[in-house]
Amino acid sequence: MSEYLMILLGAVLVNNIVLVKILGLCPFMGVSKKLETAIGMGAATAFVLTLASGASYLIDHYLLAPNGLGYLATLSFIVVIAGIVQFTEMYIKKTSPTLYQVLGIYLPLITTNCAVLGVPLLIAQNQLQYTLLKSLWFGFGNAVGFTLIMVLFAGIRERMEGADIPAVFKGSAIAMVTAGLMSLAFMGFSGLVK
């Protein structure tokens, strides 16, 4: 049990996918202007990332690793993730139109998100320690970390809209500076979990 807690804590705070691993910066900068879109993007990512972690763990563990084909990991993960996202999108569209309205527009965006590819690759590197359940949990933890950062950053950016920012810093420049400061702050968590 404590092991699962450690995985979650490590994924959310210590090795945060956005601020420490510096993955998934495209939605981090692009979709964080408003709190609602940030939450929508976070939820959709959580969904996809958990699925992708499980699927790519299965591919890696039962297909690639026994045949010594570790070098195919990136290629096959991209294909599998893209396929799963497409399938999920169709399934949601049919079964739950409400959920589709919430997540729908973000799902195709996430297909090629580097955070979604990065987490399965991290799991594949670490394959001796992770089981299927742990992989799913690790993927979910990373997604929670991603969502947390998206929401925090969107909150800050909404505040900055009304702040008196020097003209040269307006827009993306101050967002970059803020992201850097947040990343510095998250360095404070390093060493919390081995």
């Binding site: 294909v79 396929g83 497409q86």
Partner: protein
Amino acid sequence: MLSALLIMSGIAVLLGAVLGYAAIRFRVEGNPLVEKIDAILPQTQCGQCNYPGCKPYATAIAAGEADINRCPPGGEEGIQKLADLLGVEFKPFGGDTNAPKPKSVAFIDENTCIGCTLCIQACPVDAIAGAAKQMHTIISRECTGCELCVAPCPVDCISMQVIEEKISNWKWKYPVFALTPVKQ
């Protein structure tokens, strides 16, 4: 090498099959009647039917809220097609609906135009070029003759000009005839 090829193509074929199956199994259908009606309407988005565009008008027809004779750009031929599709009787223009006018395009009197951009905002097909406080002009190739720009103009500098039929723009007319039930 061979196993790598086999595994990758295996994954690709499997995913392709799953997605292909899912596309059929989970297909979401819109209202097919609305699509069919919308395909008959001329897509000028002119609003002369008192609906915001062709799609809303098609939805209203499918729901039984609107008559089929409210689309002047479609002409009698359009009404005939709608009547055939819906299995109702042909209904000529008349009453509160406006009959089709001769095909015309809008024309801006450029000496009077004050560059207010109101007509640009009204145009559903972006056929008016211009900017604030600059003279506007109409791209007559794009204009559908819907007359939506005439009313907003504060200085009344827009007029409709009838396009005369010439050798260069004459097109073969489709024969239009109303179907009548056969007497027995």
